[in-house]
Amino acid sequence: MKDIYCGTLVRLASFSPEVMARNFLKWDRDTEMQRLSDVVPTQLWSEKKIKEYVEGWKESETSYRFAICPLEEEKFIGMVSLWVSSWNHGEAWLGIYIGEREYWGKGYGTDAMRLIVQYGFTELNLRRISLGLHAFNERALKSYLKVGFQMEGCERGGFLRDGVRCDDYVMGLLREDWIAAQSAR
């Protein structure tokens, strides 16, 4: 059987709250990264609070979260997650970020995207995966298109920072389109 957690550049891994909390403590300080990957105001939390927050994750049966590790090194460079919004309709929302900046723009995120999409369609048996991004996040857009996501709309002025209004995009990938692309490869 093939290792569904292993890609060409990264693997998806579990994590302990202690170790992840120390990563978050560092990544939370990078406001560019925070603003690229979220819509909520960026904040700084204590290591204790982050650890409790991460411990709370394991109780959820609707979220599937993985640490992203480069194959060549035993370390965490980011997170990728699926939140199942409705089991009955087979839809989940995807979220990803690379906290370690030296891994930006080198294909690590895209490789993690391929793994989580495969996990969503072959293990969770989802019918579609949705995601949102800020319109100015060109690196993310390029990566999502590469993995097969299609543009499904634009929420006008959904994001305001530094007095500038920005649009948010919504993208989607259907199971049948992903399967067709797999067999064409």
Partner: protein, 194 residues
């Protein structure tokens, strides 16, 4: 000039009121047995709720309104006899970006298609834009809910997002449509009064 005398919770035939924990659970419990209504309103699996379950939900709603400050929940009543016929709410308000999600439903079947939903949406928009000062509002609608689509289009909402085949019901696949309306667009149309 600020029209301070305008009554935000009064329309021609309907008004907004709070939850009544004594009498409403019985009524809303009855609506949850109407699968057609529930499937128009809800994306999650529908299920009938007992009056006690509805009562618990109301308590959670008021707790959220009080503690999270991102939910604004109104019951729709007839002006004539204060009868509870539906609900209108703004939820998941994102204060830093000025966005909120709207939901409106007329649970009492005999009061549908009489323009009451329209009067309620008019009040809800004035509240969202004139009281909460939101920049935009969003309404998420299943593509088979023609009534809701017509209503939001009538108020100038723009189709912004179409999550393809996001709904699977009775063996068919339907899109989920995201409608958006900006404060500025609403103000231009309704002169800030609704």
């Amino acid at each position: 000039m600020l029209d301070i005398q305008a009554q935000l919770f009064e329309a021609k035939d309907v008004r907004f009121g709070p939850i009544d924990h004594e009498t409403h659970p019985e009524i809303e419990s009855r609506w949850t047995h109407d699968a057609e209504f529930m499937r128009l309103m809800e994306i999650k699996p529908v299920r009938p709720l007992s009056p006690m379950m509805v009562k618990k939900k109301y308590e959670a709603v008021e707790k959220d309104m009080d503690e999270q400050k991102n939910l604004f929940y109104f019951t729709i009543r007839t002006r004539e006899d204060d009868r509870f016929i539906g609900k209108a709410l703004i939820e998941m308000v994102d204060w830093s970006n000025g966005n909120g999600y709207l939901q409106i439903g007329i649970g009492e079947a005999e009061f549908r298609r009489m323009g009451y939903g329209s009067q309620a949406l008019n009040m809800l928009l004035r509240y969202a834009f004139g009281e909460l000062n939101l920049y935009r509002v969003t309404a998420v609608v299943p593509a088979y809910n023609q009534g809701a689509i017509r209503l939001f289009q009538k108020f100038g909402f723009v189709e912004e997002v179409r999550r393809r085949k996001a709904l699977h019901r009775d063996g068919e696949f339907w899109d989920i449509i995201g409608f958006g309306l900006l404060n500025a667009e609403w103000r231009e149309q309704f002169n800030g009064r609704g």
